[in-house]
Amino acid sequence: MDDLLNEFLTETGEAIDVVDVELVKLEQDPNNKEVLDNIFRLVHTIKGTCGFLGLPRLESVAHASENVLGKFRDGELQVSEGAVTVILESLDRIKEILSGLEATEEEPEGDDSELIGRLDVIAEGGAAEAETAEDEPDTVDGEIIDPTLGRSLKAGEVSLEELEAAFANAPGPEEAASETPAADNSGQNLFERVGGEDTIAVAAHLISQRLGNEDGLSKFFDAAQQDQRKAQFTGLMMALFKDNIDAADNVGRQLVTVSGFGEAQFDAMLKLVKEILVECQVDSDVADEAIMIFELVREAVINASKEVAKPKVNKAGRSAASNEPSGAAKETRRTNQSIRVSVDLLEDLMNMVSELVLTRNQLLQITRNIDNSELGVPLQRLSQCTTELQENVMKTRMQPIGNAWAKLPRIVRDLTVELDKKIELEMIGADTELDRQVLELIKDPLTHMVRNSADHGIETPAERIAAGKPEHGTIELNAFHEGGHIIIEIKDDGRGISADKLSGKILEKGLASEGELADMSEAQIQKFIFHPGFSTAETVTSVSGRGVGMDVVRSNIEKIGGTIDMVSTVGKGSNFAIKIPLTLAIVAGLIVKANEERYAIPQISVLELVRAASKENAGENDHKIEMIKDTPVLRLRNRLLPLVYLNEVLGFNTREEIDARENADDFIIVSQVGAFTFGIVVDQVFDTEEIVVKPVAPILKSLDIYSGNTILGDGSVIMILDPNGIASLANSGVTDNATEDEAEKEHVRRSTVNEKESMLVFRAGQEHQRAVPLSLVARLEEIDVSNVEKSDGRLMVQYRGALMPLVLADKEMTLRTDGRQPVLVFTDRQFTMGLAVDEILDIVEEQLDIKLASDRPGAVGSAIINGKASEVIDVTHYLALAFPDWLGSKDTSDETGFKTDAERILVVDDSDFFRNMLRPILTVAGYQVTTVNSAAAALHLMEEGEMFDLIISDVEMPDMNGFEFAETIRDGSRWENVQLVALSSLSSERDINRGFEAGFDDYVAKFDKQTLLRSLAQQFKIEGDAA
């Protein structure tokens, strides 16, 4: 069913129920202005919505009732019982139409002229002298004319004759039947006729007794509670027979406390009640009447039973309702499927559940220490219920993010008019759900950012055309889930953020000195837009640019534990990515120990746990921590994982103390921050616990290593570690730029962590340090020099059951005469070689920037690493040295069938290092390689008519990234059919999918040489097969 209609049905149903009750109140207290206003407002709303949805029948009825109510309100008509009855009747009619509407999605056929006539008579009757009191300037009225009546519905236009004729013609019998209970109010007192209190007491006794025995009903009425039942039925009948509807309703609600009590059961119960009444000498007619009265509580009883089954109703429930096939009992079903609950109540529930979870954990903790406890089983059950309760309450708080976006199209539309721009807003993933608390908090930042994009980002049509872009600017909102977080991207294809312009502003505002700026990368400068008190717009428009922009956005997002990142390219547009947790309340945390204190690490950032045996006890297959100079690393599935010691990070121990420990088994928590994976070494790992994250006190906010604190099951407070902060702390020891603003630093680091490479720094022969990307190194060994043998003029060593050639990293270097020689082991397919070096210095995370290319064999070039000029070695050179047949082997030994006329490969990468690294690798693999440093240069080659068999492209590149490059090529260019392989350090599944979407044929992680070569071979093979 149409969402809108469904919403309308729910809402109107609710409104009518309220009007029902209020009207009754009004009747009792005709001068209650408040009640009257309320009724009028509700009916008016119903009328308005009906008109809006094009439901003429409903609207006409509602309009007529509203007229009467309007007269009441203006004091032109006295509230009379008769009038109220007719209004109630019209409400019933509305209900009837609504149920028809729900069943068929169309207004049922029918004639309401009689009812409307009566309503109008009432309105007219009192309003004869007050014709001018047409107080409703209703715009909807003008066009809504009931086609069956063929006249406008305004009260003043109805002639009396017409009405009387209508009155006489259509006194449908169904009207009489649907007379509402309120209409009966004036009737005689049933209480007396039934036989008073005595009869009721006897009947109640019998009812309560027999209900327990009746098949089909007994399970709803527990025999053990017979006394209670008796009291309830007594109360119910007293209330009903004395016309005390409210009281009856109340009792009715409590009657059934078991779910599943439906229409059939109610009917059965009524039958029973009637039998008993007759038994109690009550006249059969009176008994019938009494049973009729029972109908009043039918809904209350059944609803109560249903509410037992469904204590809460959420969005999911509502949509489920809309999918159900239409049926007879539709009306009651609808009202039960969706109830409105105040947000406060939900918040309370949430808090209670949080506390419940904590208490449950506490209990679990206590019973864990008791053996064979009887508590075990019930506690298990309690635990399970609590978990389910928690999940469900969480669900009630989930809302689609589209709710926060609802206003945006309008805002953008208004902006396009005001700023005279052409902007399209694309929204993807609007149904991504997140906690409503989070939703509320990001609503404003999102709006602000979209405004910013529209105002600052997108250029005017003229500027866009001049820049060679389509006239229409596009702002794209994209929301999706990623590992317990929601990512919201706000992308525009506008002018981007100019670092030059920003620099001027930064200087002007004194946020940084010229020298500092000179040292910053463009991205770092762009991050200044998040700085407090910064605004880039040259002119302050009414839309944005008051200097309270992005810093507020950032602080709002960080307040809820989120991060915001930005990539902007001048002329191409900006891309903001907000990462926020799904919910704020409860997360799973891994409890670890360091120096006798416990800490929690959010489970989300834990990839795996590794236990490392102490050096002494380590067996052949055990993981163990190895040292490269002072840097601890762990071999993990053919990769080296940099490690940090929590004890050291927290300042408990110095490295020397940690090294001096004896026989310590360490636990390593492998965690990931962005693309940076590292291990945190802790003393001990306990279990995971659900923890309620509480923010740290303001004075501790500056500590990056904590994301909050929490109270554990045993009542103790522990700190929650923030792997982000630990990663940056671990890195800061190396980069040492402590002068930077703390927050800014973290920010920059987070954004640049992707671009950094782990470099192994060593010394060999000469004084200067040399470096090699750590990921190229298969293993680090120390080889006993006495094992080194000379064979065929070459150095060899027995290694893992085979002979491994040993190459000296420098001509001037000599092997040690005794002791152990550090060796870097490189592996390429079946070739394994050792590179002997004098000393391994360090492992550093550094952004690689080859400053000077080298023509010396064995070197790729020089880069600044760790603050010193370092020679980056060319591993392929040494491989060729070790295996004279290595070069040639590619042509002959590869089964992939390379032909002699080499395939032409184009390498697109902005990093000199990679170009220099790939070229020899690919050349030796037998390809003919061309390299360019940007997508633009590649496209230039294409225009010049160059042709390649395959293109390897980096993904992260300035100006045009790999994805865009691929899309451009695939979009009908000359190279449309060229194989495309992406090479990237972004290797999450999402990135990979994105790569394939953009048109890449394969996606290879950077430095994964094996896979790259295999992929190339495969791509050519596919091509060959296809040809």
Binding site: E597, A697, I699, I705, S716, I718
Partner: protein, 162 residues
Amino acid sequence: MNDLVVRNNTTEMAVVGKQDFVTVMLDGQILGIPVLAVHDVLNAQQITKIPKAQDWVAGVLNLRGRIVTAIDLRRRLGLPPNEEGEKSMSVVVEHNEEPYSLQIDKVGEVLSLEDQLFEKNPVTLDPRWREVSNGIYRLKDQLLPILDVDRLLAFESNNKAA
């Protein structure tokens, strides 16, 4: 606390009458904390240390389900640290709706002091004390410096100034 007369000279205590103070002992020195600022007085608590925090942050503790940041008042005021094993007591105060626990040696009595006993800080007072103290009451046998809780806990503004 009867607010009788408001003096014009606002550099001194503006309200005349009687003020109530909780006295606490810290390294042999008696200090007063306005009684209305004190939410709780606790015996020795289990305090979770926070590595890397400022040295005068003693840690966090659990006060009936609320997490309270504990301030080591000795360090904050430049006094020598507690001797090993010596237990401290906590006076819980609130600042910007955030609870803080001031770790002190022990809590004394509650004094109701007349305003005429109040005096401005002597200019020669240790600046660290002057920064957090409103002034001093002259008791019969000793002097009672008064702690200004808000100034003591106004870390944010301190940080900005630094």
